[in-house]
């Protein structure tokens, strides 16, 4: 998450004459671990999109005669208690993880940024009310908050996305507010106000675009966290309903057969770790490439 020392080299990497995008690519490419993370993410996206073509078996097809088989050539990772192919279920689980991760971070970023923008821009009582509510939200552990909201809304994947998103609001609101407070002081904002620009226009056209870099970094780094939280919720039993495949739920299902078929829990858990690691490594790279000064801040 945090690596505070921006050395001189990091700043020199921003050389004149190249576009910001070219610079981004160049620095990111220089971080081999980040490229490794990005490559894993790319492979996962391909797997998620083409799951029906890649999976060797139907992930939902029960076959009680083949229940709890050891890994073999027919079933590379064996079968679960219902005789379903584990590898195929893991492949379909990629879809759940990526979809929940992306959408919940989207929900959290959108809500949190809006709230932070309003608070930072208007200040005063609006700001105080918003920030105190954010403090209150922050006193409830995100997982517990998501669990309670998820239960209140009723299970299902959509509701898990919403509840995880709500649990992410505080981080975005705080970072956004800090950014707005800084940008708001800039001369060009005063200038627009002097020629009579209205609040909505100033916020959306003049302030918002200049606050984005740290938020983009935050979004990338949050994807891993969100996927981990989704796995935790589905481990607890909230989220996709059977026979749908989610890695966290698979770890839990396998827990009962730990002594006889440990692979039932081991394999999906390993996938969770790999995905989260990939997103974190890539996120660190995006931060370094976008703005090395953000080390230590995010």
């Amino acid at each position: 998450m945090t690596e505070m020392t921006a050395t001189l080299d990091d700043f020199l990497e921003v050389s004149p004459g190249t576009s910001r995008f070219q610079n981004f690519i160049r620095v990111f490419w220089g971080r081999k671990v980040a490229v490794f993370g990005a490559a894993i993410i790319l492979v996962l996206i391909v797997i998620a999109v083409f799951a029906p073509l890649i999976a060797p078996h139907d992930p939902y097809q029960q076959n009680l005669r083949e229940s709890l088989q050891r890994p073999s050539r027919g079933h590379l990772l064996g079968t679960d208690p219902f005789g379903r192919d584990i590898l195929s279920r893991i492949i379909y689980g990629t879809r759940t993880s990526l979809a929940v991760g992306l959408i919940s971070v989207g929900v959290g970023a959108l809500l949190g940024m809006s709230v932070g923008l309003l608070g930072g821009y208007f200040g005063g009582i609006v700001d105080t009310l918003i920030m105190r509510s954010i403090d209150a939200l922050m006193s409830i552990p995100p997982l517990m908050l998501a669990l309670a909201i998820g239960a209140a809304l009723g299970g299902g994947l959509g509701n898990v996305m919403i509840s995880l998103g709500i649990a992410l609001i505080p981080t975005y609101a705080r970072v956004m507010r800090g950014q707005v407070l800084a940008v708001k002081q800039a001369d060009y904002v005063t200038a627009v106000r002097a020629i009579g620009g209205n609040d909505v226009r100033i916020m959306l056209v003049h302030i918002l675009p200049n606050t984005l870099p740290p938020l983009i970094v935050l979004i990338t780094l949050n994807l891993g966290t969100a996927i981990l939280s989704e796995a935790a919720l589905s481990f607890l039993g909230l989220g996709i309903s059977p026979p749908g495949a989610a890695w966290g739920a698979m770890v839990n299902d396998g827990y009962r057969y730990l002594l006889t078929s440990p692979i039932l829990s081991f394999a999906p858990g390993l996938c969770i770790m790999l995905v989260v690691l990939a997103f974190n490594l890539a996120g660190d790279g995006v931060r370094d490439a976008l703005d090395p000064r953000l080390r230590g801040v995010i």
Binding site: M1, T2, E3, M4, T5, R132, S133, D135, A136, L137, M138, S139, I140, P141, P142, L143, M144, L145, L147, A148, I149, G150, A151, A152, L153, G154, G224, L228, A231, A232, F235, L236, G237, L238, G248, V251, N252, Y255, L258, L259, P262, S265, F266, G269, I272, M273, L274, V276, L277, N280, L281, R295, G296
Partner: protein, 316 residues
């Protein structure tokens, strides 16, 4: 300093009131009518009306909230629908277990994470640094519940060194309690250790480049005194912030660890409450945990003010 503490105290009270509002409003969206959950589907209309009146659910929402909140201030959290017991009693038996586990994990993470970060920064670029950095990256990504299951498989089922799961009070059998807590505490500790090690490392690297470190070295101080006295002392503040944030992580993580290791703490109680639609338990659980976290943050803020006088004046 007294003014600083007072201001923080007032803020904490406001936060706790807001947490209670959040807890109350979330659970009012819960599916299913609590009265029907208690009485069952075959209850007569008269029974339903009576119970609804007894629980105060026929009152306006604002009145319900005020009543719930004032009762809570007097230590009355209501009766659990699931356990048919006072929720205050349930919390009184379960909160100490979660706090016990959380405190062990909290101390362990500071004791391991901070020295690991210092070591990593001092040995920048060599093998030990790479090892610590890589381990920290993996530690942040590993799902805690899965790590617990791996641990149970290896240390309990295969090697039989530790009990599989459960919780015994340390006052009944201290040795068994210790053995039962080794794995859950380790699982809870992994992420905080990783996070703290990373923050300490980068914060130390930043500080070690400063001029006063060079001055300290050039006046002939021993390296140990330079690192600990001048380096760590200045690098520790962002680490303390992060340490404070771990409180809510540890309480949140207790949900998972208590589920995996079958420990009857607050996390387990919350999960039971959520999945059995016992809104009384969930509401009380959220507010109690909110208070614990808010108080932990308050403690950190105050220690912060002691560590760095600038914070007392800056933060108006």
């Amino acid at each position: 300093m007294a003014k600083f503490i007072l201001r923080r105290l007032i803020q904490t009270v406001i936060v706790i009131v807001l947490v209670s509002l959040i807890a109350f409003s979330i659970l009012h969206m819960m599916p299913g009518d609590p009265v029907l959950i208690i009485l069952g589907e075959e209850a007569s209309q008269a029974q339903i009306d009576t119970l609804r009146h007894e629980l105060g659910l026929d009152q306006p929402v604002l009145v319900q909230y005020m009543r719930w909140f004032t009762n809570m201030l007097q230590g009355d959290f209501g009766r659990s629908i699931l356990y048919h017991r006072d929720v205050a009693d349930l919390i009184a038996t379960r909160l100490p277990i979660t706090l016990h586990l959380g405190l062990i994990a909290f101390i362990l993470s500071a004791l391991i994470g901070i020295p690991a970060g210092v070591l990593s920064a001092v040995r920048r670029g060599d093998f030990l640094d790479s090892l610590i950095t890589v381990s920290a990256n993996i530690g942040i990504a590993v799902p805690m519940f899965w790590l617990g299951i791996l641990g149970i498989y290896l240390f309990a089922l295969k090697l039989a060194w530790l009990p599989v799961q459960g919780y015994t009070s340390p006052f009944d059998d201290f040795w068994l309690n210790t053995k039962q807590l080794i794995m859950p505490a380790t699982c809870l500790t992994v992420v905080p250790v990783a996070v703290l090690a990373r923050q300490t490392r980068s914060s130390m690297l930043e500080v070690l480049q400063q001029d006063y470190i060079r001055t300290a070295r050039s006046k002939g101080l021993r390296e140990r005194a330079v690192i600990m006295g001048h380096g760590l002392k200045n690098a520790i503040i962002p680490v303390v912030t992060l340490l404070g944030l771990q409180a809510r992580y540890l309480v949140g993580g207790s949900i998972l660890v208590e589920t995996v290791f079958n420990i009857p703490g607050m996390g387990r109680l919350m999960v039971h409450g959520v999945f059995n639609q016992d809104f009384v338990i969930v509401q009380a659980g959220i507010i109690v945990i909110g208070i614990v976290v808010a108080l932990a943050n308050l403690a950190v803020d105050i220690s912060y003010g002691c560590l760095d006088p600038r914070i007392r004046y800056d933060d108006r």
